[in-house]
Amino acid sequence: MIDMSSLAGFQDGFARALATQDRELAVLTRQPGFSVYRNTVMKGCIDALQANFPAVARLVGEPWFRDAAAVYVRQELPRDPRLLFYGAGFPGFLDRFPPAAELPYLSGVAWLDRLWIECHAASDDEAQDPAGLLALAPAALGATIVRPRASTRWKWFDALPVYPIWRSNREAACSGEAPAWKGTGALLFRCGATVQWMEAGAAHCAFLDACAAGCTLAEAAGAALEADTQADISQLIAALLDAGALAARSQPHARKETS
């Protein structure tokens, strides 16, 4: 029995009535006006997911997307009023959602939509000036630590062409060509007010993972070569610097060797 005589009890009962068809709550739900609240909450959540996952929505079409989103909303209401960040669990949900089983890349596409938001909303910081880094002597360069910028995001997808699928839906462009069925990675970075993206190899992703973990450039280069023995490290670093994906070094001096 729900005691709605206290404010907390009322809110418990009302929240439960929004989510269920509990007959005990008929005092609320039998009034036609109650459905306005139920519909508004559901519409607000689905609209937020559709805004946050535009490439997924375009890929599967609006009716499919909104039906899937409604299932997700029933499992996971927002926990934060910042609806821009709603849907952290949506990529994982799509991975387990039986109707999406034939689209193994869908969850990855959702991941990249999510990374777009993280890139868009991240704090402002300065990009590493390429000249400042390349002026270092090779030994000092190798011992330098450079972190990704707060807005830089990257992700590697084994065996799935997630990036080209995401990109063509994000750009609302259809090349008409099926992407090659192989692993791909994506790099998202902020250039002024705009989130931009480019394809990233396994080496780029391993390199950025290492930089984010505080490794030296030499260690990061080693990680990149481990991921792809054919990687051209100087070209890789130049591409990241050119994109403004690396943060200006807070410490001008290289890390001391401990050995």
């Binding site: 809110q11 306005v36 009023p81 910042r82 909303a121 705009t194």
Partner: protein, 279 residues
């Protein structure tokens, strides 16, 4: 009346550029602060650019003042930080709840107006005003259903919140119209009784009929132009109380900026006529 503000527009990202280009005298804009609770990036840059062009009002939708808990400290901190950054002309919130036991319901939910709710909401308004270092305006809600357990009339409840906390009021005339039609009371009587001295802002918006029930259930949908009956309420209130900063709210089925500006200019004309009469 705040001498700088006449009529404003609820600003959506799609209209940023048009709002930047618009030089209408007295124009101000209103945004939901929750959409700008980010660490950095273009959203904050846009809002700061708009702030350089027009006064900004922060109209919160998620502080959940009527929930039986204190406002989330992180939310208050972010709101205070944004207010320091933007120096808003007005700050407002709703007489409603939305966040409860870790879940956020994106709506403005009702509650029984009783002594317990009054104490809790007054305390929550006080905490918010302490965090911001300024009074906030509280908006009257729309109503869709009858709740058991109201011990207070809504206007008396709002008046008591003003007395206890020093808060101000935001009179949403579309909410009055929708609630009056849905629950069967007189909108004109409601606004005639509303404590005009505490009103620092007026909202005007469009509503729609429920798809199943038609005109017997109106929804505060903000997806249509302001209705003729709501304009009549605006003129009635301004005739009694004098001009107050008045906002055109539109959240869905967004028309071109020019259409919103035309509605805003209509409100502006009503306010300026009232100012001339008073002079």
């Amino acid at each position: 009346m705040n001498t700088a503000l006449t009529a404003g527009i609820g600003l959506k990202p799609v209209h940023y550029e048009a709002a930047m280009d618009c030089g209408a005298d007295g124009l101000w804009v209103e945004v939901h602060p929750e959409n700008y609770f980010v660490d950095g990036g273009p959203r904050l840059a846009w809002l700061e650019a708009i702030r350089g062009r027009h006064p900004v009002s922060l109209h919160g939708v998620a502080l959940s003042l009527a929930a039986d808990r204190s406002p989330d400290p992180g939310h208050l901190q972010r709101l205070a930080g944004l207010a320091r950054r933007i120096a808003p002309a007005l700050v407002s919130e709703h007489l409603a709840w939305s966040a409860w036991r870790g879940a956020y319901h994106p709506d403005l939910l009702p509650f029984p107006r009783n002594g317990e709710a009054l104490r809790r909401i007054a305390d929550n308004i006080g905490r918010t005003q302490d965090a911001l270092g300024r009074p906030i305006a509280i908006e009257n809600p729309s109503h869709y259903m009858r709740l058991e357990g109201h011990a207070w009339d809504e206007i008396d409840f709002l008046r008591e919140l003003v007395r206890r906390t020093g808060c101000r009021l935001l009179l949403d005339l579309n909410n009055v119209f929708v609630g009056a039609r849905n629950l069967g009371y007189s909108a004109a009587d409601y606004i005639d009784r509303f404590p005009a001295d505490a009103v620092v802002e007026i909202h005007l918006a469009g509503h729609s009929a429920d798809p199943q029930l038609g005109d017997s259930l109106l929804i505060d949908s903000h997806d249509a132009p302001v209705a003729a009956d709501v304009w009549t309420l605006h003129e009635r209130f301004v005739a009694r109380a004098g001009p107050r900063p008045t906002l055109i709210e539109r959240d869905d089925k967004l028309p071109p900026f020019g259409d919103l500006l035309a509605e805003r200019n209509r409100a502006d004309a009503i306010l300026r006529a009232s100012m001339r009469e008073a002079a």
